[in-house]
């Protein structure tokens, strides 16, 4: 419980209507995009960095745990307030502060919705490439805290490749500024990158300086079908070796194809072992076309049975429709799904999928595999019914085996969702004791009292 005098103090900082504690509010801030839940004692919604700083000062003095939260689209339960205390809701920090066209840099607040930001810069002919699937309902702050990726990351890189500087509030309430508009900067330790992917455990990210690019004018999209999974995997490397870097190479396995087809009847090849969706883009139409020709040729050489290149925007949308419908198709099949985001070396993709299928058979629960083949980031999704305790138990065992397999193949637990709490039990296996100890030490420097998003990302020292 938070004492009434403290509540009054918080109300004085952010305004009475932005301090929430009704039973309805506490439930509404008890979950994210996982099935985990735990109620906070209070929800505080500041409007800017200064207010965040004042709120944090109060929480620090009173030893109140603080869990920062954006739109709650996280998939690792990193914003669930397990220790109670305060949910610091950052959605009101939603201003685009500056778009510096000359330097192609934008300054934004943490609560800006990523898709809104993209739309704004694209109207100016600029481009912010990171495109997590949650783009419409996740915020820049959350993308930074999880170092979000997406289909375009193969060519354009992940969120961390676009963050030049940050404004963040330390647990003590002090305001920390890192980086700046200078593209090259090796002054001191790189605190910007340290905060990237820190999942709200080191500081509360409130503002960011983001690097922009010119918007690519032309795009070509192809859907490539394979009867052998290995052929699909070989294609990915073969294309890159030819010197072509497509914007995206997305993979769907046979279970995914069949699940989508069952639900949407798009006419996908249900006998295929895998489908790749490959997109080339750029500012020169001829180059984009030529790259797509190369892609098609290489795909055929690697054993593709069908290469379908979209001839219009409508056809392109149709090709993407299947990939975009994966999540809804899955949810219609079973009540719950657990979506993992392991990352393996590209060459290990076929082996990873084969082993996942074996795990699925062993535990008798469907697992579909799709993901970003270009960068080895796979999304095995386990389908189950959480009401059945036995199924839930099997899901936990499956997760463990999948993570073990990923690490064994030279990969890692998470490519873009983060560790949160769901992947913590496997952290040591992935990182080793020394790396964890160093991370715990860093956490202590930022947050000596251990009040900021406690129990997340790494185990308490």
């Amino acid at each position: 419980m938070i004492e009434p005098r403290v509540v009054k103090e918080l109300e004085a900082v952010v305004g009475k209507e932005h301090v929430l504690s009704s039973p309805e509010d506490l439930i509404a801030y008890s979950y994210d995009s996982t099935f985990e839940e735990h109620k906070p004692d209070i929800v505080v919604s500041p409007a800017n960095t200064e207010e965040v700083s004042q709120v944090m000062r109060i929480a620090y003095r009173e030893n109140i745990p603080v869990v920062p939260r954006g739109m709650g689209s996280g998939l690792a339960a990193a914003s669930i307030p397990y220790s109670g205390g305060m949910v610091l809701n950052l959605t009101r920090l939603n201003r685009i502060l500056e778009i510096d066209q000359e330097n192609m840099i934008a300054a934004v607040e943490a609560g800006v919705v990523t898709a809104d930001f993209q739309a704004t810069v694209e109207e100016m002919g600029l481009f912010y490439p990171p495109d997590p699937s949650s783009i419409k309902h996740s915020t820049i702050g959350g993308n930074i805290a999880c170092n979000a990726g997406g289909p375009r990351c193969l060519k354009y890189g992940v969120t961390s490749d676009y963050v030049l500087g940050l404004t963040a509030v330390l647990p003590s309430g002090e305001i920390l500024k890192t980086g700046g508009k200078a593209i090259k900067n090796v002054t001191g330790l790189n605190l910007t990158q340290l905060l990237l992917g820190s999942e709200g455990t080191l500081a509360v990210i409130t503002e960011a300086l983001l690097r922009l690019m010119p918007k690519p004018k032309y795009t070509r999209t192809a859907m490539v079908t394979y009867m052998q999974l290995d052929d699909a995997a070989r294609t990915v490397n073969a294309i890159l070796l030819e010197g072509v870097v497509p914007a995206t190479i997305e993979l769907m396995d046979d279970t995914t194809i069949n699940t989508i087809e069952e639900y949407l009847h798009l006419g996908l090849p249900t006998d295929a072992a895998a489908i790749l969706i490959i997109e080339t883009d750029g500012s020169d139409e001829q180059t984009v076309l030529r790259e797509m020709e190369t892609v098609a040729r290489v795909a055929r050489e690697c054993g593709a049975t069908d290469v379908k290149v979209a001839q219009s925007d409508a056809e392109r949308n149709e090709l993407w429709r299947g990939r975009r419908s994966v999540s809804p198709s899955l949810a219609r099949r079973r009540p719950n799904k657990l979506g993992e985001d392991i990352s393996v070396p590209r060459s290990a993709i076929p082996e990873a999928i084969r082993r996942i299928k074996a795990i699925s058979a062993k535990y008798n629960l469907p697992i579909v595999v799709f993901g970003h083949a270009g960068d080895g980031n796979l999304h095995p999704n386990i389908l189950f019914d959480k009401r059945d305790p036995d199924e839930w138990h099997r899901v936990e065992q499956i997760s463990g085996e999948i993570f073990g397999m990923a690490v064994e193949l030279g990969g890692t637990l998470t490519g873009e969702h983060g560790v949160g709490v769901l992947k913590q039990p496997y952290l040591e296996m992935a990182l080793g004791k020394t790396a964890i100890a160093i991370q715990q030490g860093i956490k202590k420097v930022f947050d000596p009292k251990g009040l900021l998003n406690p129990g997340k990302k790494f185990p308490a020292a």
């Binding site: 009704s22 039973p23 309805e24 439930i27 509404a28 994210d32 739109m71 949650s134 219609r332």
Partner: protein
């Protein structure tokens, strides 16, 4: 307790409706209320979770809970975007039914929904003071003297919502049967909505004339009662059912090819009569037959071979999609096609044309600040088109847009698409009359 809640409340949402929610949060991006308040509790995802907590006995119906369910605009944007097919807006509406049945209701509710909406004559009498205010020059006087500025802003906004009222309700003056001009091709029953009869009579007059011009014999039953939407919005499903049965008995014996309405809200309710009465052994089939005949006016006109008018309307026109038309009835293309039929119209699409205008019936009364905030986004999008006219096929939207154009100083005329079409036909006639007179 959970068991009792499930058993005692017939309309409690089914488990599947909320169990399949994967809590992805995509609905938040489409919710006009969430996008203004930025408070998770106001969003569709929270509604799904809260209803579940209520059903499981973890949460009681508090005033705050009631307010959350009533704050929902029922714009159905969340229904449309949900990847799993959960219908959070429907869930909020069904919770209103539960609230209606299980908790004490405001004393005014019964007289309004049982005494007012089902009785057209009482409705017509109720606009009399407003009519006198307009007709005796009081409105002009009040506006000129700036007296309105003394009123709270909410009342000022409401004063500006209402267009010039007809002297008598359309229900009383419109003939019950209008023959087609020329050959009879369609037999149409016209469902005259309450607002269309008492406030937007000119529009429905235009609707009937346009139909007659295009080979329709139009029947407009005078005894027609409220479609039921206001009662549905306030959770009184039994009243909705009795209104539905009355209207079905009134319309089906006319044996029309189609039942047409020019009110998006009426249309969406009428099309749901089949669903509303599906468990009524006597009416289920009739309701299904009734609903199958219902068409929005633009939907109907674009499905028949209508004649394009030759009269010109030189204007830049944009179109706002009423939630009850675009999502509840999936009518998106037809109103635009209708506008494009008119010579001289320069059609411009507005950004987020299907984003709710914030009207949702009575939100301007019950949730003034939210309603206004949602409307600001709409008016900014209207302004950006540079249109002279914004057309929309819903009286609620029309009033809200008119209010908004005044509140946010956006210089547009708000009309129903059918009005422009009728205007074009009349200009064509005037032209012909001119040509003939000069010919003489």
């Amino acid at each position: 307790m959970a068991q009792r809640r499930r058993e005692n409340i017939p309309h409690l949402p089914t488990e599947e409706q909320y169990l399949n929610c994967i809590r992805c949060g995509l609905c938040l991006s489409a919710c006009p209320i969430y996008r203004e308040t930025l408070r998770e509790t106001d969003g569709p995802r929270a509604h799904v979770v809260l209803v579940r907590k209520y059903a499981e006995g973890e949460l009681d119906i508090s005033p705050e809970f009631v307010d959350l369910m009533y704050k929902c605009l029922d714009c159905e944007a969340c229904n449309a975007i949900c990847p799993v097919g959960i219908r959070p807006a429907d869930l909020a509406m069904e919770m209103r039914q539960v609230i209606h049945k299980t908790t004490p209701q405001p004393w005014l509710k019964k007289p309004i929904f049982h005494g007012y909406f089902p009785h057209p004559l009482i409705q017509e009498l109720s606009v009399l003071p407003l009519l006198l205010y307009q007709r005796l020059g009081l409105q002009t006087l009040a506006r000129k003297l700036g007296i309105l500025k003394l009123l709270p802003r909410q009342l000022q906004d409401m004063e500006h919502m209402v267009p010039e009222l007809p002297a008598r309700s359309l229900r009383q003056v419109l003939p019950e049967e209008i023959p087609p001009m020329g050959e009879e091709k369609h037999r149409v029953a016209f469902f005259l909505g309450c607002f269309q009869s008492t406030i937007f009579a000119q529009e429905s007059e235009a609707t009937v004339r346009v139909m007659a011009r295009n080979g329709c014999r139009v029947f407009t039953p005078k005894q027609v009662k409220c479609c039921g939407m206001p009662a549905a919005g306030y959770g009184d499903i039994d009243l909705v059912k009795s209104l539905a049965r009355f209207n079905i008995d009134l319309f089906l014996p006319l044996n029309p090819d189609v039942i047409v309405t020019d009110c998006a809200t009426c249309g969406s309710t009428l099309k749901h009569y089949g669903e509303i009465l599906k468990d009524d052994p006597e009416y289920a089939q009739k309701a299904e037959a009734f609903s199958a005949k219902v068409r929005d006016i633009s939907e109907f006109l674009m499905s028949i071979d209508i004649r394009a008018p030759r009269g010109e309307i030189r204007a830049r026109v944009t179109y706002h999609d009423p939630c009850h038309l675009v999502r509840a009835q999936k009518v998106r293309k037809q109103p635009r096609d209708l506008l494009k039929l008119i010579p001289g119209v320069e059609f411009v699409e507005m950004k987020e044309s299907d984003w709710c205008c914030g009207s949702a019936g009575t939100q301007i009364l019950t949730h003034y600040h939210n309603s206004l905030a949602v409307n600001r986004r709409k008016m900014e999008n209207v302004r950006a088109t540079g249109a002279d006219i914004v057309a929309t096929g819903c009286p609620g939207c029309q009033m809200q847009l008119t209010m908004g154009s005044n509140h946010y100083n956006v210089n547009v005329r708000v009309v129903h698409p059918i009005q422009l079409l009728e205007e074009a036909y009349r200009r064509e006639e005037a032209q012909i009359a001119d040509e003939t007179s000069t010919g003489e």
